[in-house]
């Protein structure tokens, strides 16, 4: 049978306005996927510090990209299919049965698959090196290998897209086999009902969005465990609300505008508004999708970029010294306790052996207390294991001599005086401190960042006082810090860590109820590479997904212009006859497409601004305080995105004007 391939090739050629953009998009996706797959197994990436984490991030991203690829391609292909049912119906009437049609479509799909795969792989191979260089720059790795082609990536792309195209083929067969030829051949338009403005749904959409916005904006940083869950709860109303807003709300708006006679019966608005009411009913869902995709892109790009650029400052505040060793005694009801004085003695003892400069060592007493404005009740909760509720604060008590030792000062305090420093973002605003309604301390607030290793997301306060021993009974634990600068090899780190651990645990005897000693040793360097490889992987994924979303959005825009152009052709013909000049038609088209294409971006920017509040909270949890940076990044990202979007919108709207006969 030589007919199928011939018919298939012919169909693609004669419908190139539909197929070429589709093939271009799938090639683009294949290219992106190739790059990610190639980098996830690249030796150069593996060789850079934190390469392993980076590769894990990339590995996950491949599946995310593949999933979106499936969605986009299905969606856009349904557009293509709709446009072609008439032609397929004609074949059917001319005597091809559904089997034959399936045969033609199989060849069409095959041609699309093979050509997209070839073009996409070439794209991928060409741009892979560039992407690799970019990624390595972000992850601060070195680039040595030359030009390579990844067999693994080629194979993976071939397989994934074989699957996607097969699903697309099945869907086409499904569409064709359920339609009857007369139906397929009939022209689309039989006149349609005017959209009804559904007040309830429109208002529901607005309400859902307001609810979600409120939920995000009223999130309490204290409830850090619920932060993500709260955000997730807000996402669904936003998505639902956006769909309702575009589908029902926009019709509602048009109806309201139509009620305003003075506005409606104006040359500029008359045709545009009535057209829009009809258009929105059908394309509202598409616009809502564009809007949500855009929101995702904006959030992803601006937050990852903002996070990435703050890693260094976080590292310095999280790691006041290059090497940090932390031992934490956790006390349980029946466990053995160690006094703060003992812990301090052991800590300073080990610190003396440290081979490095700027050695700092101290031990602090921790407990959780609930309250505010200076009045607190000690709860006996353990900061690490029990979930904290609203009003819970973590207090760390340090004796004055330790404080003077570390800071090199000789501060004197009266017995009813305390120095307090908040390491959380909330600060400490009272001028006194009282626990369990007993002794009252006059407080003065001081900033010291040397102790900021800890969890910033809590209301946690460091308190310095002459004698902390009366609070030892309440302590949920004692934390010992040994920190110093100096280039330690991995082996040296291990040895020193082991010695420290042994020393801290020195009086433990088998069989007793032990205190739980948690221990960790880290260097700023390892932590930094860990962070930067995660974030550079995320940025990279963000950029790749952005390319993908952009591509999908642009294609969606293009198809909509083509479809609506064909649909509106007759309409503008009538308008011309009635006496609308080309100029009037152009300005109507402009205002119409401007609103339909800009509205998703505007809504997306609104969503993004609110989501940035959450991102900001999340950032603070990570100990990042670059609020301005975050605002600037999201503003810049939004502006760039809108610009690119606008350029493509202009380009595609030309297609529309050409079709309606300008």
């Amino acid at each position: 049978m030589n007919l199928y391939p011939k018919l298939a090739a012919n169909a693609i050629r004669s419908n190139r306005q539909l197929y070429f953009p589709f093939i271009l998009m799938s090639s683009g996706i294949i290219g992106v996927l190739y790059i990610m797959a190639a980098l996830s197994t690249s030796d150069t990436v593996k060789a850079c510090r934190g390469g392993h984490t980076l590769m894990t991030v990339l590995d996950y991203s491949i599946y995310i990209v593949a999933f979106f690829a499936l969605l986009f391609m299905f969606f856009t292909n349904s557009f293509v299919l709709k446009r072609r049912t008439k032609e397929l119906g004609l074949y059917n009437i001319l005597g091809m049965n559904k089997r034959n049609l399936a045969g033609v479509m199989a060849f069409e799909t095959l041609i699309m698959y093979v050509s997209s795969y070839i073009i996409g792989s070439v794209f991928g191979i060409l741009f892979c090196k560039l992407a690799e260089a970019g990624l390595l720059k972000l992850a601060k790795g070195e680039n040595h290998t030359g030009f390579t082609v990844s067999g693994h990536a080629l194979k993976l792309c071939a397989l994934i897209f074989l699957g996607i195209f097969f699903l697309i083929f099945l869907n086409s067969v499904r569409v064709v086999s359920f339609a009857n030829p007369a139906q397929m051949f009939k022209s689309e338009n039989l006149g349609e009902k005017p959209p009804r403005a559904n007040f309830f749904l429109g208002l529901l959409g607005v309400a859902a969005i307001i609810f979600a916005y409120h939920k995000v904006l009223s999130m309490d940083i204290m409830m850090q465990e619920k932060l993500l869950a709260n955000f997730a709860e807000a996402v669904i109303p936003v998505i639902a609300g956006t769909f309702l807003l575009f589908i029902a709300g926009s019709v509602l708006l048009c109806k309201i505008l139509q009620k305003n006679k003075k506005y409606y019966y104006n040359k500029k608005h008359f045709v545009a508004v009535s057209n829009m009411a009809f258009r929105m009913k059908r394309s509202g869902a598409g616009l809502a999708t564009i809007s949500i995709l855009t929101t995702m892109v904006l959030i992803m790009l601006s937050s990852t970029v903002a996070f990435y650029s703050q890693i260094e400052s976080v590292m310095i505040s999280d790691f006041p010294r290059e090497n940090v060793f932390i031992g934490t005694y956790g006390f349980f009801d029946d466990s053995k306790r160690i006094t703060l004085a003992d812990a301090d003695k052991r800590t300073t003892g080990i610190a003396a052996k440290a081979e490095g400069t700027d050695v700092v060592s101290y031990a602090k007493l921790n407990f959780v207390a609930n309250g505010k404005n200076g009045e607190y009740n000690i709860t006996g909760k353990r900061e690490r294991y029990d979930s904290l509720e609203e009003g819970d604060c973590v207090f760390s008590l340090i004796p004055l001599d330790s404080y003077n030792r570390i800071t090199g000062q000789s501060v004197k305090l009266a017995d009813d005086e305390a120095i307090i420093s908040s390491v959380s973002k909330n600060g400490y605003y009272a001028d006194f401190l009282r626990f369990n309604d007993s002794k009252t301390y006059k407080t003065k607030t001081v900033d010291f960042d040397l102790f900021s290793q800890g969890r910033h997301y809590l209301n946690s306060f460091l308190v310095v006082m002459n004698d902390v021993s009366s609070y030892e009974q309440y302590a949920s634990g004692i934390t010992c810090f040994i920190m110093f600068n100096g280039d330690l090899s991995t082996e040296q780190m291990r040895v020193f860590g082991k010695e420290t651990y042994a020393e801290l645990k020195s009086d433990e005897v088998e069989g007793e109820n032990p205190y739980r000693l948690g221990f960790e040793s880290t260097t700023r360097q390892t932590s930094e590479t860990q962070y930067s490889s995660v974030y550079s992987g995320l940025i990279f994924m963000g950029v790749m997904l952005t390319i993908l979303f952009m591509g999908a959005t642009i294609l969606l825009m293009y198809y909509r212009q083509v479809f609506e152009g064909h649909e509106d052709y007759g309409k503008y013909q009538i308008l011309r006859n009635v006496g609308m000049s080309r100029k009037d038609i152009k300005s109507t088209v402009d205002s119409l497409t401007f609103v339909t294409f800009l509205s998703p971006v505007l809504v997306a920017i609104a969503h993004t601004s609110v989501a940035m509040y959450f991102v900001h909270q999340f950032m603070v949890i990570q100990g990042m305080y670059g609020t301005l940076l975050l605002i600037a990044t999201s503003a810049v990202v939004s502006i760039i995105f809108t610009l690119i979007y606008f350029i493509f919108y202009k380009l595609t709207s030309r297609t529309y004007l050409k079709i309606v006969g300008q």
Partner: protein, 253 residues
């Protein structure tokens, strides 16, 4: 001087790719007086629609002139043509050409809105025009809700609302059943009775028999014309029918 003067009109289409030339109109001359109801008859491909498009200023002639009420159509540029159509002509088409997105009222008002009329006067105008055609109770309906005959009446109301110098009708009964056709033609006759000039292109002998004069066009030129004079509709119908037979069988004038 006549109201509409078409002199030596010629239209040649050039196919874009092959460069082949097709002569749609070879040499058309005719005049229409104010208040006349003129029908143009001819077979498919005879050049009827081309002629109508030229008179409607939708297309430019290759040669010759069209003068409506002293205005030379070939002298006005593209931008003014739309305004010219809007202010001077009313259109009625075979396919009604109502916009699906507008109610009947808004469809009727479209030319007025394009003219920039004040919003406050519009409703009254629509009601007036609708009353003439007996569609007052359909004003708030959408095109998909009403019958073909009603749609065509709405289209006529739209054509009349600007009080145009001339109504151009292109196969206005082509998509209507016989009852609706009769009603529409009665309306045309009564509008014409009120002094409205009408130029109608049609296939239908019955439609043409209601006009005051019929022009026959063949191979791009006016071949013959008949005046109704005092003849009855039936007599005129017979006369037109005979002429058409002669035209198609190739008899002498």
């Amino acid at each position: 001087m006549s109201y509409l003067e078409v002199t030596n009109l010629k239209k040649i289409y050039t196919t874009r790719l092959s460069g082949n030339k097709t002569q749609a109109l070879t040499n058309v001359c005719f005049t229409v007086e104010q208040g006349e109801f003129v029908a143009i008859m001819g077979e498919s491909g005879s050049g009827k629609t081309t002629l109508l498009n030229l008179v409607a200023a939708l297309d430019k002639s290759t040669e010759g002139s069209i003068i409506l009420d002293g205005m030379d159509l070939s002298s006005i540029g593209e931008a003014q043509r739309a305004t010219f159509r809007r202010d001077n002509l009313g259109f009625v088409f075979q396919e009604f050409n109502l916009l699906d997105t507008f109610t009947v009222e808004d469809n009727i008002l479209l030319p007025l809105v394009l003219q920039g009329k004040k919003a406050s006067d519009l409703h009254e105008e629509a009601v007036k025009a609708a009353a003439c055609l007996g569609i007052t109770d359909l004003l708030s309906k959408y095109p998909y809700e009403i019958s073909g005959g009603q749609k065509q009446r709405a289209a006529v109301a739209r054509a009349l609302i600007t009080h145009p110098k001339m109504i151009l009708a292109d196969e206005p009964t082509g998509a209507l059943d016989s009852k609706s056709s009769d009603e529409l033609l009665n309306q045309f006759v009564s509008i014409n009775g009120g002094g409205q000039t009408i130029l109608m292109v049609t296939h239908s002998v019955k439609a043409a028999s209601r006009a005051s004069r019929v022009l026959f066009i063949k191979d791009g030129t006016i071949f013959h014309q008949l005046y109704k004079g005092d003849a009855s509709d039936t007599a005129f119908y017979q006369k037109i029918s005979d002429t058409l037979t002669m035209l198609t069988t190739g008899g002498e004038k």
